[in-house]
Symmetry: C2
């Protein structure tokens, strides 16, 4: 038995806690308590599920604006995700598949079933320990027959043995007696967004030591789940099936004072794993490993793996426990969601903690999350960029699909890199992502000095995307290049002309490409020849890239000193926000038709401010202030990518009350029990946003993109007395300590 | 036996003919040969169908640009449509339901089945007689066993007894002998766009004189089909079912020289019919009527009904047989498709001759088809406008759905008037339809002097749509009103600013509304009070309507004297048509991505020219010429609404070779066997377009909207020596005769 469990004290700087069960917030906690290790992820659902919350309802989910959608499942949605295991939805394109639920442990005593909604429960507490990703639940269950049981659940998805999930439940009889029935199973009655992606579910029955479910997906993958079980007292287990479910069933008479501990271990392997051996061999291997080593050893290794993650990732805030817990929660999810050993996948928009956004990858990965990895785990950052390199072929197909040569990165990508966004206005027009990726790569390279990455991989991405851009631009009468038909970061204006953010990103990308090619040509004739051969590169192309880079319009209004979001921004209609936005606790988009929204000056999210955040040296302080003062009042922050950007800019300007308001907003997005933001998954970009807000905003770190030395210009929130974190920077690690009075930068090694 | 059939001579000025069976063009002729009577419509499919052309394939048809879609069924698609019988498709919204196929007659002799693809056929001919809408097929079938049969089919959907369809087949044995098996049935194995709208199909079996299929649709309707059968020789019929099919089966030994005639009559009734009696009572009544009266009498009444339609609808062209047949074909479909006695429905975009466009109603009805009805059958025109009045409640819902008061007519409407367009770019932005309807109503009223229509019905539509408009406009800095976020008639620019066509239409609509209200107020205080009460009208509203009408921007470029399609038109990219449009026999849209198309100056169809057609007095001849010369070269005519408009303008300018080129284009749209344009249904708006081209273009009739007296300014095509037609005008009928030398207008009564 785990001693840690018995002696556990909930540390409010390291644990997110739920103190009473509430049907309304259950889904939120399922999302918030998601556990994972990069390889697989499980939502924080109860072992026994919730009565009446069917997980296999089939319906046709329509493409829509996800931000404004009313989610279908109100009480509970299980989630078992393996990045890369995707299937084709008829409307939503390729989506991550919600796999069979292997966490099931049902308890029945004297014919009464544990049911969080109906049972009499007291001293309920559930918490996720962020240090080691262990999820706990403790409660006292008073049955109608007068039997009182104290239950303590613990579970973790091993950070070290990526294929293992360990669960335990301790049952202590406080009073009464009765026969306890236990069912521990695997349940394939799960649908993803109402769709059945399981072509076949096989229950293999050739070994009595475990139960086994093999799922063949419509994406062609095989996923094998094996569960084994052990108990502290002698229980005779039988293996049963019910429809497609399979489970161990056992029972034992319990009397007052009895203690029983059940352990369930599940190994999950797929045909996508980069390992040798058949599924069954590998699945059994991990299971046997558990039974050989035992809970404690597995836990120790898991715990150490988490420690090593936290070593360079943690941010310590003194004076603001709420912010302390929030940043640790967000960092926890960033670490968990990242598959650092598999560059065939990236981090999806919901951090593999829900079905919303279909497991797709957006620009968020590069722009919102990557800086965290660059400065805490450069290898992981590299891996995320490698995902883009690995899906270059898909990007080529996207370009071709749109009638262009070269490569166009998908607005929403999955395993192939081909466009998965089901709504054309985003897929066709949010083209900035293609340049964002090049920007992000340089951010990584400038921070790490990993020049080889550009030479070995980046150059292909750069040349191919540049090829796309030189065809995507239109030349106007004055000989300048324009980008027409563009949606910038602000998704409430679908088709604009010369979006400032997009054009600047493209200009950067083309300049870097032309410079790089020229440099390689000068320095490495052989290398250049290889590139020429590999990519069929022509000298004329480089000239064209240069020309477009030079002559691409960057909109700017001299009269007002305001950078317009797009050249035609002024032509959109002003919005009477007070008249329309009746309830500001709900998204603005719920109060306006898309039609009206699309012709109005109401921003979903930071657009020009995002530009200024990424190119701080391009703009004067006045321009920054002007932009903030102009755009903030017309920005709805309906997107979770918005608040952190505004918070950073507010901090830069020293407007701390505003910065703190945005800090609160950023924290509330997934932390607020009232807002229930994590119900459909974690807003993982906003997690990176909070990290950036603290590091770039409050510590005032100048982006490694634009300087070689660490430069800080801190503006701490009022009650923060100290801020500490570690930065990976040019191959070294630095400890940053910021107080109101001063800041220190200490080299660690 | 029908004598007419035996003696029929195919009149090439009145009959469209198919001289050989060709699998590739079969679907085209199915559409072109569609028969109907306003109440019901059947495509021109073979009685026995085509082998391997399954009609019940289920698949998910996606919302898309219908113009560019590749149709699913290549060989054959049956079509049985009753306007108003619609059901909900999960993606395409409410669509007309393709009902059970009641035309089935299968012939099998000596175990060999008649099969147009596999059988040996000679002397094949099929033709539709436009005078009476009878469809004929005659052929000689040489079986492998050496039996030669001459087959003559005839069928019509009665124009007088709207619930009856009569079919006959004459079988003459030329040589050989064998047992002929005949199967005449009703087949519910039909899906609409891959979707099953049949909730239940019941085969009622309480009478042995007919077969019966009752279909309960997912739209909640009941459709009853009864088929009876008779033969010229004694045949013992048995009634059989096979899955959901039901049929009469009979056989008879035939020898050389034998003649057999089979007649099949089907009555179709629904719970939507405005008649008393149960379905079965009514269904039986019509069937009995047939058996009592017999083929000849029913045919005579049908034929006379058609004669009366043609009396005032025909256009006679001397010197151009191709044009003569084309205009008659197009008029035939306009007459057939119009449900003149049921103002709960209108004319759908494919003229109830195919599943494409889902049976939805567009602006085409008012702008492209209505003029034909105004001048040939004013009652039918009035009825079409009544449909809009009857669906005002749906239009109110559309406005509300978009956040406005008042009424917004759906871009695609069905029985309720609620928006049925599954693609938001059209539904949200092609708002001109709401004003087009008011324009069309005035066109009708100015032509017919039916002022009462405006006072009784129009005023509600006008006030409610005006209410929508005053909220839909945005006021700019200079105090002028704008319409932002608009798609004009040209559907290749989705979201433009101040579309000239739309703004002019709205201005017209608002001016008329303000004028009307003022006039009623002055002339009819009591009537005005009623309107005030009924619509909750406020004096201030009228002021606002006036103000918006006055200050709504009409874009115009003084420097070039060109009316820009929209205020921002110049900002779109120029298109290198030669580089992109590799094969001009296919739509331009097939060669460019939607993304590129949406930011380019490539018009799908007439936009400014359509404006000039509808408001001829607003523009100088120079402006007309400038517009034509500017827009025509950048117009792809991918829409079937485009060529006729260009043809009219070309004729107005006296550019006859160009006008004739467009004439050819307009005729080819559904007449060309090579283009197979009618495969998915009739381009019914283009039918009205040809009528307009002849009447407004070649005869040069000035629109009754803008003048009280008939004014002509003819420009006949080169080979046309005479053009004659009849016009309803201000309550009278006039015969128009145009020759190269002169034109005459003769009052008929």
């Amino acid at each position: 038995m785990s001693k840690k469990n018995q002696t556990h004290v909930v540390d409010n700087l390291w644990c997110i806690e739920e103190n009473r069960f509430n049907q309304d917030t259950n889904k939120h906690f399922e999302g918030l308590f998601t556990q994972g290790n990069g390889y697989m992820h499980v939502r924080g659902s109860f072992e026994e599920g919730l009565r009446g919350a069917a997980q296999d309802e089939e319906y046709m989910r329509m493409p829509a604006n996800v931000t404004l959608e009313q989610p279908r499942h109100t009480k509970s949605k299980w989630g078992t995700f393996i990045p890369g295991i995707v299937g084709k939805h008829p409307l939503l394109k390729e989506e991550i598949i919600n796999l069979p639920y292997f966490l099931g442990i049902d308890l029945i005593i004297a014919d009464e079933e544990l049911n969080m909604e109906a049972s009499t429960i007291r001293e309920y507490k559930r918490w996720l320990d962020l240090r080691d990703g262990c999820l706990y639940r403790s409660l006292i269950w008073e049955t109608e027959q007068g039997i009182d049981l104290k239950l303590c659940y613990k579970r973790f998805v091993s950070m070290e043995e990526k294929h293992l999930c360990l669960q335990q439940v301790q049952i202590e009889v406080l009073s009464g007696e009765g026969i306890l029935d236990i069912r521990c199973g695997i349940n394939p009655e799960v649908r993803t967004n109402g769709f059945n992606h399981f072509k076949e579910v096989l229950t293999e029955d050739n070994n009595s030591e475990y139960i086994c479910t093999k799922t063949i997906t419509d994406g062609g993958n095989s996923v094998l789940m094996l569960s084994g079980i052990s108990a502290s007292e002698n229980i005779c287990w039988s293996r049963l099936t019910q429809n497609q479910r399979i489970f161990f069933s056992g029972s034992r008479l319990l009397k007052a004072g009895d203690c029983l501990e059940i352990q369930k271990v599940t190994s999950v392997v797929t045909d996508r794993d980069l390992e040798e051996g058949t599924l069954i061999e590998r699945g059994e291997k991990y299971l046997k490993y558990f039974f050989k080593e035992g809970w404690e050893k597995i836990y120790e290794r898991h715990s150490r793996a988490w420690d090593s993650k936290w070593l360079y990732s943690d941010i310590e805030i003194t004076g603001d426990d709420e912010a302390q817990l929030a940043i640790r929660t967000y960092i926890y999810h960033l670490i968990r969601a990242n598959s650092e050993n598999d560059s065939r996948v990236a981090i999806c928009a919901k951090g593999y903690a829900g079905e919303a956004y279909f497991g797709h990858y957006f620009w968020d990965t590069e722009i919102n999350m990557l800086p965290f990895f660059i400065h805490t785990n450069p290898q992981a950052a590299r891996n995320l960029l490698m995902y883009r390199y690995n899906t270059l072929e898909g990007a080529r197909k996207n370009a071709l699909e749109n009638g262009y040569e070269g490569a166009k990165y998908a607005w929403e990508a999955s395993v192939t890199g081909e466009e998965q966004c089901p709504c054309w206005q985003y897929a066709d027009h949010e083209i900035h992502i293609t340049a964002d990726i090049i920007y992000a790569m340089y951010h990584y390279v400038n921070s790490t000095e990993d020049i080889a990455f550009v030479r070995n991989f980046g150059v292909d991405m750069m040349v191919e995307t540049a090829r796309y851009w030189v065809q995507r631009v239109d030349r106007n009468k004055d000989g300048y290049y324009e980008l027409l038909g563009v949606m910038g970061p602000d998704e409430y204006l679908p088709i604009t002309r010369n979006n400032a953010f997009t054009n600047r990103m493209v200009k950067f990308s083309l300049e870097k490409t032309a410079d790089l090619l020229q440099k390689i040509k000068q320095e490495d004739a052989k290398g250049y020849l290889e590139i020429e051969n590999r990519l069929g590169l022509k000298e004329l192309e480089i000239e064209k890239i240069k020309e477009v880079a030079e002559k691409l319009i960057l909109p700017y209004d001299e009269n007002t000193d305001i950078v317009p979001q797009s050249e035609d921004f002024e032509s959109y209609a002003d919005v009477d926000f007070n008249a329309i936005w009746k309830d500001r606790t709900k998204p603005f988009g719920n109060f306006i038709s898309q039609e009206k929204n699309y012709r109005s000056k109401a921003l979903k999210q930071a657009d020009v401010l995002e530009l200024m955040l990424l190119y701080p040296d391009d703009f004067t302080r006045e321009q920054l202030t002007n932009a903030y003062d102009y755009y903030e009042p017309i920005t709805t922050h309906d997107s979770s990518l918005s608040a952190s950007v505004h918070g950073i800019v507010a901090a830069w300007m020293g407007r701390m009350p505003e910065a703190e308001k945005f800090l609160k907003k950023v924290m509330d997005i997934d932390m607020s029990e009232e807002k229930k933001g994590a119900a459909e998954g974690i807003h993982i970009a906003n997690c990176g946003g909070l990290w950036q807000m603290i590091v770039y905003g409050f510590a005032g770190l100048k982006s490694a993109m634009w300087c070689d030395e660490i430069q800080l210009a801190p503006h701490l929130p009022d009650k923060w007395t100290k801020l500490e974190f570690t930065l990976a920077w040019h191959g070294k690690r630095y400890r940053i300590t910021v107080t109101k009075e001063k800041h220190e930068i200490t080299e660690l090694y």
